[in-house]
C-alpha cells in the first residue's frame, strides 16, 4: 500500500505491443472444438514495472496487451471457435479490475492511454461477437469487480456462480471516487438495459450484488450453483456456438486459421520501419511522418483459397499493412506523448490498392476476408481515437486510393498539391466496409454537410481517379495549394498546429471528428472516458487526500464538496 505514493515517473509502458500465446504470462487458451476457454490467471509478481502487485487477478497494461492479442488470434488463428468462455484460471476470484496501485503511480497521460487501450480491447470483443460469429461468454466464478465486471459486460452473456458470496460490482464510485471507465456505466444501461435507477443503486454499492437479484436486475444472464456451474457454462457455450454458426456461416474455402506472424519492426533512432509502414519522428517540431505503402502486384486474388494462401505466407497486404499501422499507433500513443501532429502520407500504385481492396471485398462472406476487413476497420478506428492531430499530405507520388484513402478521410485536415500528377481514388471499401465507431463511413462524415455528395464522389471515383481540382470541388481537400505555395503553407500549418494547447486540440478534434449520430462506442469514449479523465485529475480523486490516493491507506479521503 505504501507503494501507492510512488512518484509519477514510473509508469508501466512496454517496449512492444506484440506478444504471442507461447509468451503469455497471464492468460491461457484451451481449445475444445468450437469452444475455447480463455483463462485469466494473472501472476501477481509480474507487473509491467515495479511498484505494485497484481493481486486478485487485477490487470495492468501488460495483462491487457495479452488479452488484446488473444482476442485477435482467436479470430484469425482459430476461426473454428464459435464461443470463447472468458473465465478465471484462479480459484474463487474472477477479476478485480484494473490495478489501483498501478493507476495511482501512473501519470495522467498514461492513465488515459491505458483506459483507451483497454476500451478498444473490449470493443474488439464485441466486434467479434457481432460481426465474426465468435461469441463471448463470461463465466464468473468468484468476485467480479470494477474492470472485471466491465470485461464480463463486454461479453455477450454472463453466467455468475451462485455461491452466496460471489458478486458482480462496480465499486469505483463509492470506493475510489472515480468511474468504472472501461465502458461499465455505458454498457450497464445501453447494452444490458439495466433500469437506470437500479444502475444508480448498483454503481454506488461497493460490495456489489449476487445471486437471484443480479439476474432480476439484468446484471448477469444466469446464475448456477457451484455444483452445476461448469456444466451450465459448458452447455450454454456449445449452444451459443451452434447458434453462431447458423447465424453467420462462412462461405466455402479453407476453414483453418492463419497464423499472425510477428511484425518485428526495425527501430533505429527516430525511425520505425515495418514492411509497409514507416514512421519518422521529428522531435524538434513534435511531429511524426507516418507513411503507409500500398501493395505490390499479386494481391488481387480471385478465390478464397488464394486469399488464404497469401495470408498464410504472411503476404496479404491488407492484413499485414494494417496490423503494422495498428502497432505503430500504439507506439505513438504510449511511447511518444510529445508528438502532437502526425503527417499521414501514402506511397504506391493506386490501381493495385483498388484491385486488392476489390478482391478482398469479394471475399467478405468468407471468414478470412471478413476478418481482414474487420481488422482494417478496427485499426482505422484506433486512428480515429488517437489523441494526436492528423494532417494528410497529398503529393504527386501519393497513393490515397481505396482503403488508403481512409487515412485522408480520417485526418483532421488534408493538404493537397495542385498538380496534374496528384490524384485521389475512391474504391469499393470507401462505401461502408470500414465504418467509424459511430456507425458512419468516413466519407459520409467528411460530407456530413452535403450527404448527396457521398454518392457523387463514389460515382466519380468509379470513372477513374479524381484530379486534385475535382477532389477540392468535392470537398476532399482542406487546402489546395500549387507548388509555389505548398511547402510554405504546410510548414506554417504544422508550426501553428504544434504551438496550440495539446489538451484543447485533443478535445477539439474529438468533438469535430464525429459529426452526426452516435453509438454506444462513441459514448464510451466521448462521454464515459472523457468524464473519467476529468475526474482522474481532480483533487477529489488524485489529490493528496483524494479517494484514489487514500485507497488502502488508514486515512479516509477528504472531499471538496462543491459540485462542478
Amino acid at each position: 500500500m505504501e507503494n501507492a505514493a510512488k512518484t509519477e515517473s514510473t509508469h508501466p509502458v512496454p517496449p512492444s505491443f506484440e506478444t504471442a500465446p507461447d509468451r503469455y504470462r497471464h492468460f491461457r487458451i484451451e481449445l475444445d472444438g468450437d469452444v475455447a476457454r480463455l483463462l485469466m490467471s494473472v501472476r501477481e509478481d509480474e507487473p509491467l514495472c515495479p511498484g505494485y502487485v497484481l493481486k486478485l487477478n487485477s490487470y495492468d497494461l501488460g495483462v491487457d496487451i495479452e488479452l488484446c492479442d488473444a482476442v485477435q488470434r482467436l479470430r484469425f488463428e482459430h476461426p473454428e471457435v464459435r464461443t470463447v468462455v472468458v473465465t478465471s484460471g484462479r480459484d474463487r476470484i474472477f477479476c478485480a479490475g484494473a490495478n489501483i496501485h498501478m493507476l495511482a503511480q501512473s501519470t495522467h497521460g498514461f492513465k488515459v492511454n491505458f483506459c483507451k487501450f483497454t476500451n478498444e480491447t473490449r470493443l474488439a470483443i464485441e466486434d467479434a461477437c457481432r460481426h465474426s460469429g465468435q461469441k463471448y461468454l463470461a463465466a464468473v466464478s468468484g468476485p467480479c469487480a470494477g474492470g472485471g465486471y466491465e470485461l464480463a459486460m463486454a461479453c455477450d452473456e454472463i453466467i455468475l456462480i451462485d455461491d452466496g458470496s460471489s458478486t458482480v460490482a462496480l465499486p469505483e464510485v463509492p470506493l475510489l471516487g472515480v468511474l468504472p471507465g472501461t465502458g461499465g456505466l455505458t454498457r450497464l444501461v445501453d447494452k444490458r438495459k439495466v433500469r437506470r435507477d437500479r444502475a444508480d443503486v448498483f454503481s454506488t454499492l461497493a460490495e456489489g450484488i449476487r445471486g437471484k437479484r443480479s439476474v432480476e436486475w439484468r446484471l448477469v444472464d444466469q446464475i448456477a450453483p457451484r455444483s452445476r456451474f461448469a456444466q451450465v457454462v459448458h452447455t450454454r457455450a456449445h449452444q451459443l456456438a451452434t447458434e453462431a454458426k447458423a447465424a453467420l456461416p462462412s462461405a466455402p474455402g479453407p476453414q483453418t486459421g492463419v497464423v499472425l506472424e510477428p511484425l518485428s519492426p526495425t527501430v533505429d533512432g527516430d525511425t520505425i520501419s515495418y514492411r509497409f509502414v514507416h514512421l519518422k519522428l521529428d522531435r524538434t517540431h513534435r511531429t511524426a511522418h507516418l507513411t503507409m505503402n500500398g501493395p505490390g502486384p499479386g494481391q488481387a486474388v480471385g478465390s478464397a483459397e488464394a486469399l488464404h494462401q497469401l495470408a498464410s505466407r504472411g503476404e496479404l497486404w491488407a492484413l499485414r499493412a494494417f496490423r503494422e499501422l495498428d502497432d505503430v499507433l500504439c507506439r505513438l500513443r504510449f511511447h511518444e506523448p510529445l508528438i502532437g501532429l502526425v503527417i499521414l502520407q501514402t506511397r504506391g500504385d493506386r490501381a493495385e490498392v483498388l484491385a486488392a481492396d476489390a478482391a478482398l471485398y469479394a471475399q467478405r462472406e468468407y471468414w478470412l476476408g471478413r476478418e481482414v476487413l474487420l481488422n482494417m476497420a478496427r485499426v482505422l478506428r484506433r486512428l480515429d481515437m488517437t489523441a494526436k492531430s492528423f494532417f494528410a499530405v497529398v503529393e504527386g507520388e501519393s497513393c490515397f486510393a481505396g482503403s488508403l484513402l481512409e487515412l485522408l478521410l480520417a485526418a483532421d485536415r488534408s493538404y493537397v498539391l495542385e498538380s496534374p500528377e496528384v490524384k485521389l481514388a475512391t474504391g469499393t471499401l470507401n462505401a461502408g466496409a470500414l465504418l467509424c465507431g459511430n456507425g458512419q463511413t468516413r466519407l459520409g462524415l467528411r460530407c456530413h454537410d452535403q450527404p448527396a455528395r457521398v454518392d457523387e464522389i463514389l460515382r466519380r471515383g468509379e470513372a477513374g481517379p479524381l484530379s486534385a481540382e475535382d477532389a477540392d470541388k468535392l470537398g476532399l481537400c482542406t487546402v489546395l495549394a500549387d507548388d509555389l505555395d505548398f511547402a510554405d503553407t504546410l510548414r506554417l500549418a504544422v508550426e501553428e498546429r504544434v504551438s496550440l494547447s495539446p489538451d484543447a486540440l485533443t478535445g477539439m478534434e474529438q468533438n469535430l471528428r464525429f459529426p452526426g449520430p452516435d453509438l454506444s462506442e462513441g459514448k464510451v469514449f466521448g462521454r464515459l472516458s472523457a468524464w473519467q479523465n476529468w475526474i482522474f485529475i481532480r483533487e477529489n480523486a488524485t489529490g493528496p487526500q483524494g479517494a484514489l490516493t487514500s485507497y488502502g491507506r488508514p486515512e479516509r479521503p477528504s472531499f471538496d464538496w462543491r459540485r462542478t
Binding site: 487546402v479 495549394a481 509555389l484 505555395d485 510554405d488 503553407t489 510548414r491 506554417l492 500549418a493 504544422v494 508550426e495 501553428e496 498546429r497 504544434v498 504551438s499
Partner: protein, 483 residues
C-alpha cells in the same frame, strides 16, 4: 503580365526572380490600379504632379523628383537592407535569431497585425480623395498627392509581406484591402479613425499631424519586430511617413500663423472677427485638435490589453525605440495608470507592463504631439507676443473623448479636456465648445476655395517657408489640372 512590367517596379526584393511574388502581383496589380482610379484623388488622374519616387534604398535613390501622372506612379517594394545576425530584441524570444520566415505559431497574429496596418494606408487615400478640389495652393495640392501615392506605396509594402509570406490567405487578404471602403457601412475600413471623413484641409492637416503620427509610432513598434521582413519594411516606410507628418505639422502651423496675422490686422481677439476676415480662428483650430488627437489615440488600442501583451511576449511588436530600454522581457514590472472605478473615481492602478504596452507606446506619441503643439504656441507667441497668452493651443487629456479602452465613452466614461470625470449630460452641453460643430464645418467648407495659380495662396493659411526639393514656392507643382 509581361516580365518588362515587373522590371518597371522599383524594388530591392529581387522581384524579377521571384515567381511566387510575380504570380501574386499579376493578380493584384490590375485590381490595385482600378482601385486607385476609382478611389484615389478625384479627377486629378491626368494631371502631372511633381512627385518624389523611391527608386532604390540608396541615399540618392529614395527621393527622385519628377512630373508624373499618378496612375503611372512607380510604386515600388523596398525593405531596409538586412542587418546580418539580427536577433529578436524583446519578449519571450529575446536574443534568438530574428525570423526570416513567418513562424507558424504566430502566423495568424502576424497576419492580423499586417492587415490592420495595411488597411489604414488605402483608407487614408479614400478619406482624402475629394480634397484636391479645394487645395489652398499648388504646393499643398502636390503635398496631398505625394502623401496619397506614398500611402499607396505603404499598401504595397504590406501587400508584399502578405504575398510573400502568407500564401493563399495572404493573397486573399491583399484583395480584401482593395474591397473595403472608408466610411462604408457594409464594408468599412478596420479602424475607427479611418472611417471618419477628412472633409476640409484643416482636417487634412490634423490628420497628417495626428493620425499619420500614430502611423509613425505603429511603424516604429513594428520595426522592432522579430519577424525581420516586417521590421525592414516598416523601417523604410518611416522615411516616407516623416514627410506626411511634416505636411500636417507645418500645415497647422501655417493656419495658426494666418489666424494670428488676421488678429493683428483686425486688432480683435473675437473669433467672429477672424471669421469675417476669412481666417480660421484659434478656437476652431483647438476644437479640431481635440477631435483628431482623441481619434488618433484610439488607434493605439486599449490601455490594458491582452493583445498588446501577446504581441510583445511573442516578439512581434516592441516598444518605441526598444533599444533604449535596459530590460526587454517586460516581465515582473508594472505600469501605473489611472483607472476609472465604480462611482466615477479614478484610482491609480498597477498594470502588468506587458498588458500596458499600448499605453507605453501612447506615452511616446503624446510627448511627440506635445512637441508640435509647443512649436505652434511659439508661432502664436512670435506673432502676438503677450496678447497670445490666452490663445495657447493644448492637447486634451488622453481621457477626453475616447471611443475605446478604459476611458471610452462606450463604457459610459466622460471627461473634460483636462481629464476630470463629468457626466454624459455635461459632456453633451459642452460638446460644441470642445469639438468641431456643424457651423465650423459649414464655415470651413465655405472658405475652402481652390487656388490654382502658381505661387498664390488661399486667405486662411500662410504660405510655406520654402518650396519642395529646393524649388520656388511659385513653382508649378501640379500641371494640367482638370477643367
Amino acid at each position: 503580365m509581361t516580365v518588362e512590367l515587373f522590371e518597371k517596379i522599383p524594388n530591392n526584393v529581387n522581384l524579377s526572380a521571384d515567381k511566387r511574388l510575380q504570380r501574386a502581383l499579376e493578380q493584384w496589380l490590375p485590381n490595385y490600379i482600378s482601385w486607385w482610379k476609382e478611389m484615389g484623388p478625384d479627377q486629378f488622374q491626368e494631371s502631372d504632379v511633381y512627385l518624389r519616387t523611391a527608386v532604390s534604398v540608396e541615399s540618392d535613390g529614395w527621393a527622385h523628383f519628377d512630373y508624373v501622372k499618378m496612375p503611372e506612379y512607380r510604386w515600388g517594394i523596398f525593405l531596409e537592407p538586412q542587418v546580418p545576425g539580427r536577433t529578436i530584441g524583446f519578449g519571450d524570444h529575446y536574443g534568438q535569431p530574428a525570423w526570416q520566415e513567418v513562424p507558424g505559431e504566430y502566423r495568424n497574429t502576424l497576419r492580423r497585425i499586417i492587415v490592420t496596418q495595411g488597411d489604414t494606408e488605402p483608407a487614408s487615400v479614400e478619406q482624402q480623395r475629394m480634397l484636391g478640389h479645394t487645395a489652398p495652393s499648388l504646393y499643398d495640392l502636390r503635398n496631398l498627392f505625394q502623401v496619397n501615392v506614398e500611402e499607396g506605396r505603404h499598401l504595397w509594402a504590406m501587400v508584399y509581406l502578405l504575398h510573400s509570406y502568407f500564401g493563399k490567405d495572404g493573397r486573399e487578404e491583399a484583395e480584401a484591402m482593395l474591397e473595403r471602403r472608408s466610411g462604408d457601412r457594409d464594408k468599412p475600413r478596420i479602424l475607427g479613425a479611418f472611417n471618419e471623413p477628412v472633409k476640409s484641409w484643416l482636417d487634412f492637416y490634423m490628420f497628417t499631424m495626428f493620425t499619420d503620427r500614430d502611423g509613425k509610432f505603429q511603424l516604429c513598434a513594428l520595426s522592432e519586430s522579430g519577424f525581420d521582413p516586417l521590421s525592414r519594411t516598416c523601417k523604410f516606410m518611416l522615411t516616407e511617413e516623416a514627410h506626411h507628418m511634416f505636411v500636417g505639422e507645418t500645415g497647422v502651423d501655417r493656419v495658426v500663423q494666418r489666424a494670428c496675422e488676421l488678429m493683428k490686422e483686425t486688432g480683435s481677439n473675437d473669433p467672429q472677427a477672424i471669421v469675417k476676415a476669412g481666417g480660421i480662428p484659434l478656437d476652431m483650430v483647438q476644437r479640431h485638435l481635440h477631435l483628431w488627437f482623441s481619434l488618433s489615440e484610439d488607434l493605439f488600442g486599449g490601455e490594458i490589453s491582452s493583445n498588446a501583451a501577446e504581441f510583445f511576449a511573442a516578439g512581434l511588436k516592441g516598444r518605441y525605440k526598444e533599444d533604449g530600454y535596459s530590460e526587454h522581457t517586460g516581465l515582473n514590472q508594472f505600469y501605473e495608470m489611472p483607472v476609472p472605478s465604480e462611482g466615477g473615481k479614478i484610482v491609480m492602478t498597477q498594470v502588468p507592463l506587458r498588458n500596458a504596452m499600448n499605453e507605453v507606446l501612447r506615452d511616446g506619441y503624446v510627448a511627440d504631439c506635445q512637441r508640435a503643439v509647443d512649436k505652434w504656441n511659439r508661432t502664436i507667441e512670435r506673432q502676438l507676443g503677450e496678447r497670445g497668452a490666452d490663445f495657447k493651443l493644448a492637447l486634451p487629456s488622453r481621457r477626453f473623448h475616447r471611443q475605446i479602452g478604459i476611458y471610452g465613452m462606450n463604457a459610459g466614461n466622460y471627461f473634460d479636456p483636462s481629464g476630470q470625470p463629468i457626466s454624459a449630460g455635461e459632456f453633451e452641453s459642452q460638446r460644441s465648445k470642445w469639438l468641431p460643430t456643424d457651423s465650423d464645418r459649414e464655415y470651413l467648407k465655405q472658405i475652402m476655395r481652390p487656388v490654382t495659380e502658381p505661387g498664390k495662396i488661399a486667405g486662411w493659411i500662410a504660405p510655406p517657408a520654402r518650396g519642395i526639393n529646393g524649388q520656388q514656392i511659385e513653382f508649378e507643382y501640379v500641371r494640367h489640372l482638370p477643367a
